[in-house]
Symmetry: C2
Subunit: 368 residues, 2 copies
DNA sequence: GCCCGGATCTGTACCGATCCGGAAGATACG
DNA sequence: CGTATCTTCCGGATCGGTACAGATCCGGGC
């Protein structure tokens, strides 16, 4: 009936060709057994799959298939300065979640690579990464990793920045966000504002950022947020040059707390702080508590992002909400479209929305 | 001097072969220009790289190189039920961070794939993923994705579970952890304990888990934690069967809060709760506050993991600390060793350490 | 009985590189 | 000046599959 069963796998790995020979069929047929069941009879297919199981052949080699098909089923994601940061920031996490959820529909996985910070790291791993497309996120203009990712000419999609010619970008209306925040505070009577900013450049500087440094912001998102705040402040009759902008060295609560402490420890401390991220705002709340300033009684704090934690701070954080998960999905669907060969354009920047919770309030009647 | 420059790239992508022909050298030489600079003269190398830039050839194709070299520079990571969970749990995040940090040294990236939950998803993407090794994490025994990951015979390393024959595993002494927690509480005078457990099986059940369900725990980590708690409780003269074990449907604060509410809403509520994760403990604190129970005055809560947030809860969380980042790095170095062809064995389970903070205290003198 | 279309399966040409042994030319040495 | 030794570079062979264009076989229609 059946031919005498061949011996067990000789030792090495079993390949599709070996299986084909063992069965006396062509490699194409074995390949079809896996990839196009309709191209061969059910009986033969069963025989192939059966013998494959016996021999320990578990389907075509993914890499070889990748070469031939030109697809490996992976979307590269470049994250700034090590994955720890990307993971610790809820904003980035939600983005990745949305992205993963979307590309998963096409069976794609996410290949995370760190964008080497400060020129220290190697670009090789990025240039040599086997991916079908790249997603860039929060990299400063002109970061070398960007070129590395673009090198092989595969589709690229950008979140927030950097802006790249011909590359679709998903972003939000940053300027409108901070402008709304400033207007909200001004409307509550505040005149002494301060800005708690995420890093302007990748040099880990911490401290007051003068107008010159503001102008030279490497992160465009931050530049736009500054511009929005400045514009709204000016419209309200404030002198922007007099509004302290404190740049934090990192986007985490600790840095935010340090920055806030510096802002408060001045002769003429602000009555309201506009933080450029909820992470920083969290730190601001902490520092305020440590300094004995009541929020919002003596100090108003407003965040940016509306990350999940904003809801459960004490007091709950007033913040500028952006659709974190949606942006990830949008990027994902752009990637899918590009991989499907479609032409795409950047969607319009998302509108943002001010969510008023408990961390902002009217300026205190009397002087402190 | 130099030959007349050839025309611009005709249109399609430039391949190594095309570049070689254009320059009149062999493909091997071009390849060497990129991969083994010492194999050709500096002059020729410069000429090759120069012309490559002109033609828009940006190095050998990663996938083809992957096929030939048998390496693609990616470590697959299988995460349970969608990436959102993996990302939202600080425990998993720190693990991934440690892992990424370690494998990065070899230029490897992390390819995240979701392990389809409940048989709904496809295994194809996993079987066809182009990776050099797989890392499995927190998957219940016998999950189909495990076989899919093992199919191609590439190295596999497991964190916590599932235990697989011949596969190195990194884990902690779970039983000792919960045992220490129980002893701590008993030492404070507590006799009415309750356990707030992460899911026992992947069926999203929520509610009291009787002894039978406890025995059938699919997640071995949880089984061990239950065993440790049971053993310590018995040693202290308590009847384990009388200790309520409430299984949460997910490992997040919301589920923990729901579970705690149920535990507290009984005729004979516990005076102390042992949560199997900090995430759940967070929820417990929330639920306790909502129910008007003071912590630790009226209710002691103890967590597990010592995640970063444990430090900043109110009150700070007493918890069983495990070296989250280190475990990731350990898994990473095992992966590296395996890829280097070395023989490895599972390291001994990490010892855990009880960190006493403010969420546990002596049982209240009088009855409530 | 002959021609035709569909179902099956095969052969061959890639996909785009890397590796290994060896050939040419240059240099060194006795 | 002949030979040993590098230094450089070249030619297959190979990695493991997939796509596409046939070749075969078979039952049916006329």
């Amino acid at each position: 009936m059946s031919k005498a069963l061949g011996p067990r796998p000789p030792g090495g790995r079993v390949t599709l060709l070996a299986l084909a020979r063992d069965l006396g069929v062509s490699r194409a047929t074995v390949s079809n057994a896996y990839n196009r069941p309709d191209q061969l009879s059910a009986g033969l297919r069963a025989r192939i799959l059966g013998r494959a199981a016996e021999l320990g052949f578990s389907g075509p080699d993914p890499i070889a298939r990748g070469l031939r098909r030109g697809r490996v089923g992976a979307v590269g994601v470049l994250v700034d300065e090590g994955l720890s940061y990307a993971f610790s920031d809820p904003t980035a996490v939600l983005f990745l979640d949305g992205l993963a959820r979307e590309v998963q529909a096409d069976g794609l996985g996410l290949l995370l690579h760190a964008a080497p910070g400060g020129g220290g790291g190697e670009l090789g791993p990025i240039r040599n990464a086997a991916v079908d497309a790249w997603v860039l996120q929060s990299l400063p203009e002109g970061h070398p990793a960007v070129a590395a990712a673009q090198a092989h000419g595969r589709p690229v999609v950008v979140l927030d920045q950097p802006a790249l010619p011909g590359v679709p970008l998903v972003g939000i209306d940053d300027a409108a966000g901070t402008a709304a925040a400033v207007r909200h505070l001004v409307g509550l009577g505040h005149r002494r504002l301060a800005v708690l900013s995420t890093p302007l450049r990748a040099d880990r500087a911490e401290g007051p950022a003068d107008l010159d440094r503001q102008r030279r912001a490497g992160y465009q998102v931050v530049a736009r947020r500054l511009a929005g705040a400045a514009s709204a402040a000016t419209d309200a009759g404030l002198d922007w040059a007099g509004v302290p902008v404190l740049e934090c060295a990192a986007n985490d609560p600790d840095a935010g707390a340090r920055g806030t402490a510096r802002l408060l420890d001045t002769a003429d401390p602000p009555t309201a702080i506009v933080a450029f991220s909820d992470q920083l705002a969290l730190g601001a709340l902490r520092a305020a508590a440590a300094a004995g300033r009541e929020v919002p009684g003596q100090l108003s704090v407003i965040g940016f992002d509306d990350s999940p934690t904003a809801r459960s701070t004490v007091p709950p954080l007033t913040t500028v909400a952006q659709p974190l998960l949606d942006r990830g999905q949008d990027v994902g669907s752009l990637v899918r479209a590009l991989l499907a060969g479609k032409q795409v354009t950047s969607p319009a920047p998302y509108a943002v929305r001010l969510v008023v919770r408990g961390s902002t309030g009217p300026v205190e009647p009397a002087g402190g």
